[in-house]
């Protein structure tokens, strides 16, 4: 981002400041209630292991909600988002008693009038958890 005469210029290639969110079992419980998705793979370690997962995993949609917060903080609010998409490539693994990172960054991919397309990156424990993640916002 370049500041010219006090105005913030957004151009293709502008890199947004990285942000780290923290995810723990308590957040997974809160998201399960808020979203209605009570799948036990997101809360019950024994169950998660029994279906071949390495541990309890975060809801893909929780990851997407947090990355969405990153986008709306930059864009100026929830109402700014017109399109938002992602592929859930790897799970965010959430062992008991720890907070795992969700590290988010973005690059401006396209500017079309007041519409800005962002290419989003999200990793946890160094592993890419979202693929082809993109948002279109009005800014």
């Amino acid at each position: 981002m370049v500041n010219i005469g006090g105005a913030r210029m957004i151009e293709v290639g502008t890199v947004l400041v990285e942000k780290v969110f923290y995810v723990d079992r308590e957040l997974l419980r809160a998201y399960a209630d808020a979203s209605g998705d009570q799948n036990p793979i997101h809360q019950n370690e024994e169950f998660a292991l029994s279906v071949g997962l390495p541990n309890v995993i975060a809801h893909g949609m929780l990851t997407m909600a947090l990355v969405g917060k990153y986008v709306t903080d930059w864009a100026g609010g929830s109402a700014a988002v017109k399109e938002y998409s992602a592929r859930f490539t790897k799970p965010v693994i959430v062992p008991a008693g720890v907070k795992v990172d969700l590290t988010v960054s973005a690059t401006v991919a396209e500017v079309n009038g007041n519409e800005v397309s962002l290419t989003l990156s999200a990793t946890s424990a160094g592993v890419k958890v979202l693929g082809m993640a993109k948002a279109v916002v009005v800014k």
């Binding site: 957040l27 809160a30 998201y31 209630d33 808020a34 979203s35 209605g36 998705d37 893909g60 949609m61 929780l62 997407m64 909600a65 947090l66 969405g68 917060k69 986008v71 709306t72 609010g77 929830s78 109402a79 988002v81 017109k82 399109e83 938002y84 998409s85 992602a86 592929r87 859930f88 082809m132 948002a135």
Partner: protein, 129 residues
Amino acid sequence: MINPDSVGRTFEGADSLTVSQSEIDAFCAVISETDTTVAPPTFSIRISLSQYESILTQPEIGVDWTRLVHGDQKFEIYRPIVAGDVFKCSATIETLRVAAGNEIISVRSDLHNGSELVVSSWSTLVVRA
């Protein structure tokens, strides 16, 4: 197994769902969003997923919900959701394919408030072998 005849068909959810402020507040709280006047961009999944479960598990379609994994998700948001919106949710089975025994379906969900289309979303759901 998912019924291949369901591909291309649209199923209407049985329920009309009224969005409450407390639902928006709870969703905002999880992501530390302090502006609760509109719903966050992914809020509509709360509505779509609950409707998907009741629609897609009908014997006519036959999705095994217990083996379901979310592959990808896309939203097109025509205006933000607010408290008081009353939604009817449809599910259109757009494609079905089988890979290594996994059934992979893409489903489109349209949320209408009366005649107004507010959010369209696309979910790829994988029923694991």
